[in-house]
C-alpha cells in the first residue's frame, strides 16, 4: 500500500527528542513525588506511569512491590485490591477494624489477602499468591504501597514492607 497522505506541520508538533531509548520512550521520566529507601534484597526497577517506585523481591523473582498515587478513596482502593483476590468487599465497620500503620507521615490501613491473583490488566490469574499493602490518605492524595507475589514470600516480607512504608517521604 502506497502512502501519499502528507499533512502540514502544526503548532501541536514540537521538536522531537531524537534517538530516545526504549526506556525514555515508554517510561515517565518525571521525578517521583514519593521517596523511599530500597530495602536489602529488593531490586529497584525504573518507574512507570502507574508505579512511582517499583521493585522486585523474593527468591522466585515473581514478587513485586510498587508505590502509586491512586484515584478514588481509601475504601475504593482496599476493596479493589481484595476483589483482585476474589475476596468480598469490606463495609465501613470492617474497614474501621483494619490495623493502621505509619506511612509518609500519616497513617494508612494495612491490607492482606491470599488466593488467586487476577490483576485485571489482561494478565492470566495467578494461583497461590499473597497480597500485603498499605492504603493511606496523605494530604488529600491516596498513597498506596502494594506487594504481591507467591504467598510464602509475601508473608516473609511483611515486616520489611511495613518498615519500608513507614520510611516513605513525600518529596514536597
Amino acid at each position: 500500500m502506497e502512502i501519499v497522505e502528507i499533512r502540514a506541520a502544526t503548532r501541536r508538533d514540537k521538536t522531537p527528542k531524537l534517538f530516545a531509548t526504549s526506556d525514555e520512550r515508554f517510561r515517565d521520566a518525571k521525578p517521583s513525588p514519593v521517596k523511599g529507601a530500597t530495602p536489602d534484597g529488593w531490586l529497584a526497577l525504573p518507574a512507570t506511569q502507574m508505579r512511582l517506585l517499583n521493585y522486585r523481591f523474593g527468591e522466585s523473582g515473581m514478587g513485586e512491590v510498587w508505590v502509586s498515587i491512586s484515584s478514588g478513596t481509601v475504601p475504593d482502593n482496599v476493596n479493589r485490591w481484595l476483589k483482585q483476590f476474589g475476596a468480598p468487599p469490606l463495609d465501613p465497620a470492617a474497614l474501621a477494624k483494619l490495623r493502621t500503620v505509619p506511612i509518609a507521615g500519616a497513617n494508612g490501613v494495612w491490607v492482606e489477602a491470599a488466593g488467586e491473583y487476577a490483576s485485571g490488566m489482561g494478565a492470566a490469574p495467578k494461583p497461590g499468591y499473597g497480597l500485603a499493602g498499605v492504603v493511606a490518605d496523605v494530604g488529600g492524595r491516596i498513597l498506596t504501597v502494594k506487594m504481591v507475589g507467591p504467598k510464602a514470600e509475601v508473608e516473609a516480607a511483611r515486616p520489611v514492607l511495613e518498615a519500608y512504608a513507614g520510611g516513605l517521604k513525600m518529596a514536597e
Binding site: 500500500m1 502506497e2 502512502i3 501519499v4 497522505e5 502528507i6 499533512r7 502540514a8 506541520a9 502544526t10 503548532r11 501541536r12 508538533d13 521538536t15 522531537p16 527528542k17 531524537l18 534517538f19 530516545a20 526504549s22 526506556d23 525514555e24 520512550r25 515508554f26 517510561r27 515517565d28 521520566a29 526497577l45 525504573p46 512507570t48 506511569q49 517499583n54 513485586e64 485485571g120 490488566m121 489482561g122 494478565a123 492470566a124
Partner: protein, 407 residues
C-alpha cells in the same frame, strides 16, 4: 365456483413486484421500523452505561452492524435486532415509496408530501453525517494559539523527516489501514518520497509497552528492545484507549531493521538515521490541521449556585487567517461556524481550577456536510404540517359555509 354469478368480483391479482412494493411502502412496515428504532435507542441507552458511548454507538448504529444482540448490565438479551443504520435505510425507502410515490397526489395532500420530504431529508442527513463527517477536539490555553484538532479515537502512524529540529513531510498512515493488522497479519506501507518503507503488524486497539524486567510476557508476545505490548481491555471511555503495534524499517535494498514498538502511550518517537538524514516514526491520535489559527483570549465559566454544575462557559477567541483577525465568542449552544467547520464549546480545565488560575478551553470541532440539514428538514416538516392544517381548515370552513347556505 368460477362461474358463480353471486361471487364478489375478484381484484386483479398483483405481481410479486407489486406485492413487494405494497409491503415496502406500507404503513405497517413504517410502524415496525419506528418501533425498532425506539427499541434500539432504549437498549443502546442502557448498554452504554456499562460498555461506554462510542462502542455502543458503533454496535447499534454503525453501517457494519447488520444484526446485534443487546446486553443489559452485562447480560445478553436474547432478542436479535437489526442495526439502526439499516433500519433507518429501510425507513428511508419506505418513506420514499409510501410517502412520496404511493401517496395520493393533489393539492389537498401537498402538505403531507412536503412533510414527508422533510423527514426524508433528515434521514439522508443522518446517513451523510455517518459517512462523511469528521470530529475532533482542540484544547487551547488562555493566551495560547492552536491550528490543529485531534481526533477523539483514531490512532495513526506518522513518518517525518527532521530538518533543523523540526518535522517535515509528515506522512500519515491512517487508522483504517492499520486496525485490521491483528492476529499475525502485517502490511508493507510504501513511502515513495522517503528512502525506506515501513512494515507494520500486531495491531492492538488498547495496549501498553511493558518492560520484560517488570512483567514477563504472559503469552507469545513479541519482544522488541526489552519491551512488549501488553493488551489491555477496552476502556469504557474509548477515548482513553492507547493503540500499539510493531514495526520494521524496510530499506530500498530489501534489508529490514530490528522490530520496534509504536505505542500511543509513548513519550518520544522512534528515530531512524539514513545516511545523513534523520527520520522519526511515531504513533499518535490523528492531527487535523485547521485552515486558520484560534487564539484563546479569555475563558470564563459560571456555575449554578453552590454546585460545580456549569451554567455557562464562554470562550473569547481571535480567529487568525491570512494575516487578518476576527474576534469571536463561542459558548454553550452558540458555536462558531466558519469555512465548513463548527466549533462547539465542549469543556474546560484544569478541573477544580481556583480563582486566578490559568484556564484552558476545549472545543469540539465538527466538519459535517449535512450540518444544517436537520434544521432545514424541521422547517420543511413544520411548513408541510402548516399547509396540511390550512388545507383541512380551509376545507372545513368551505363545508360549513355550504351547509349554512342550505339552512
Amino acid at each position: 365456483m368460477e362461474n358463480d354469478p353471486t361471487a364478489a368480483p375478484k381484484a386483479p391479482s398483483r405481481s410479486f413486484a407489486g406485492k413487494l412494493f405494497d409491503v415496502l411502502s406500507g404503513f405497517g412496515l413504517a410502524t415496525i421500523l419506528l418501533l425498532l428504532l425506539g427499541l434500539l435507542t432504549w437498549f443502546a441507552t442502557l448498554e452504554q452505561i456499562d460498555s461506554g458511548l462510542y462502542p455502543t454507538l458503533n454496535k447499534y448504529f454503525h453501517w457494519k452492524s447488520v444484526f446485534l444482540l443487546p446486553e443489559v448490565q452485562g447480560k445478553m438479551v436474547p432478542l436479535p435486532l437489526p442495526g439502526g443504520y439499516w433500519v433507518g435505510a429501510v425507513l428511508l425507502l419506505n418513506l420514499t415509496l409510501g410517502g412520496v410515490i404511493r401517496i395520493r397526489k393533489g393539492w389537498k395532500h401537498a402538505g403531507n408530501l412536503i412533510a414527508h420530504f422533510g423527514i426524508i431529508l433528515m434521514l439522508v442527513a443522518g446517513g451523510v453525517a455517518h459517512h462523511f463527517s469528521e470530529r475532533g477536539n482542540m484544547a487551547v490555553g488562555e493566551g495560547e494559539s492552536s491550528d490543529a484538532a485531534e481526533d477523539y479515537f483514531e490512532y495513526v502512524v506518522e513518518v517525518a523527516e527532521i530538518k533543523e529540529g523540526w518535522p517535515h513531510d509528515i506522512h500519515v498512515i491512517r487508522g483504517r489501514h492499520l486496525d485490521d493488522l491483528t492476529d499475525g497479519r502485517g502490511r508493507l506501507f510504501r513511502l515513495p518520497k522517503l528512502p525506506f518503507d515501513l512494515e507494520i503488524a500486531g495491531w492492538l486497539d488498547h495496549a501498553a509497552p511493558v518492560s520484560i524486567t517488570e512483567r514477563a510476557p504472559a503469552a507469545s508476545e513479541r519482544v522488541a528492545d526489552g519491551y512488549y505490548l501488553m493488551e489491555k481491555p477496552d476502556e469504557i471511555n474509548a477515548e482513553a484507549n492507547t493503540a500499539g503495534c510493531y514495526a520494521r524499517i524496510v530499506r530500498r535494498d530489501g534489508t529490514k531493521s530490528a522490530p520496534f514498538i509504536l505505542a500511543g502511550a509513548s513519550f518520544h518517537p522512534f528515530s531512524v538515521r539514513h545516511e545523513d538524514r534523520i527520520f522519526t516514526v511515531d504513533m499518535r491520535k490523528r492531527l487535523w490541521p485547521m485552515p486558520f489559527t484560534v487564539k484563546l483570549d479569555q475563558f470564563t465559566a459560571e456555575f449554578h449556585p453552590g454546585t460545580m454544575k456549569p451554567s455557562k462557559f464562554v470562550s473569547r477567541i481571535t480567529r487568525i487567517e491570512n494575516g487578518g483577525e476576527a474576534k469571536v465568542t463561542i459558548q454553550m449552544n452558540e458555536p462558531m461556524r466558519y469555512e465548513g467547520l463548527t466549533f462547539f464549546q465542549a469543556s474546560y480545565g484544569p478541573p477544580g481550577a481556583g480563582p486566578g488560575q490559568r484556564m484552558y478551553s476545549v472545543f469540539e470541532i465538527v466538519k459535517n456536510p449535512a450540518d444544517k440539514w436537520p434544521e432545514y428538514s424541521l422547517y420543511i416538516v413544520a411548513f408541510g404540517m402548516l399547509v396540511t392544517f390550512l388545507t383541512k381548515f380551509g376545507g372545513y370552513l368551505a363545508s360549513t359555509t355550504r351547509k349554512n347556505r342550505h339552512v
